[in-house]
Assembly symmetry: C2
């Protein structure tokens, strides 16, 4: 029996997803594999860039947020994937050693008309460094209904 | 001297970004690290899911698209990062062995008023399996101007 189903994800619900720390080596490894731009790989190029320092690929930050979302909410749920999002914002550069507090808020929820037993949940995920939001992802998640 | 600057990214330009093949082990490694949901990790769970088979994390597909975008367009450019996107769509599940043809289209371009020397380019990136679009990412990219 799963813990979280569509019925549990009601509008306004805010779920803390814990903290992630940006590990320098992890960040560089991701950049080498998926986003080898100079400012994500090289200190000096980072300093000269608009970011002002070696910074994380936005896809790394988003992927770390996803991990937090799986670990703290949907890992034990009726989640059936996502068709995507209508906002993915990288609001500020992320640096090695940063600690990001992750969270997700249920923005809305409705049952699918075309697929009985499934619900569509609109969610907004954020990662914050102190009071500053550095990542926001607003997306739809599909979840099986309990009943 | 860089190859690509703001001035080169004119509305309507379509740039092929090559093909990426979905490697099963790479796909699983990414899922274990960033998106450990059962249908991304386990054959049987994948078959039972709405995806009908072991499928890639959408973040893996997006990250592979990013790599193609760096390799074929912005690796040697005046790119200065991205504030994010207004659409990230996972339109169909992606499976091991799939070959995705990546592409990016310039949707619009304007000079920044607040930051002289920078231009804001609206781009739409896609990954296609045959005729089927499996990923679309519509986003803004900041680029330095040549002049």
């Amino acid at each position: 029996m799963v813990t979280i189903a569509f019925e549990d994800l009601t509008e306004g619900l805010v779920v803390p997803l814990g903290e992630v720390k940006i590990d320098r080596e992890d960040m560089l490894e991701f950049a080498r594999r998926f986003d080898p731009q100079a400012y994500h790989l090289d200190e000096e190029a980072g300093r000269r860039s608009v970011f002002g320092g070696l910074s994380a690929s936005g896809w790394f930050t988003a992927s770390l947020w996803m991990r937090a979302y799986v670990d703290h909410l949907i890992g034990d749920s009726t989640a059936q994937g996502s068709p995507g999002g209508r906002e993915l914002s990288w609001l500020a550069p992320v640096f090695p050693g940063d600690v990001l507090r992750c969270e997700v808020t249920v923005v809305g929820a409705r049952r699918s008309k075309s697929r009985p037993g499934l619900g569509i949940v609109e969610l907004s995920g954020t990662a914050n460094r102190g009071d500053e939001c550095v990542l926001r992802f607003t997306f739809a998640g599909l979840f099986g209904c309990r009943e």
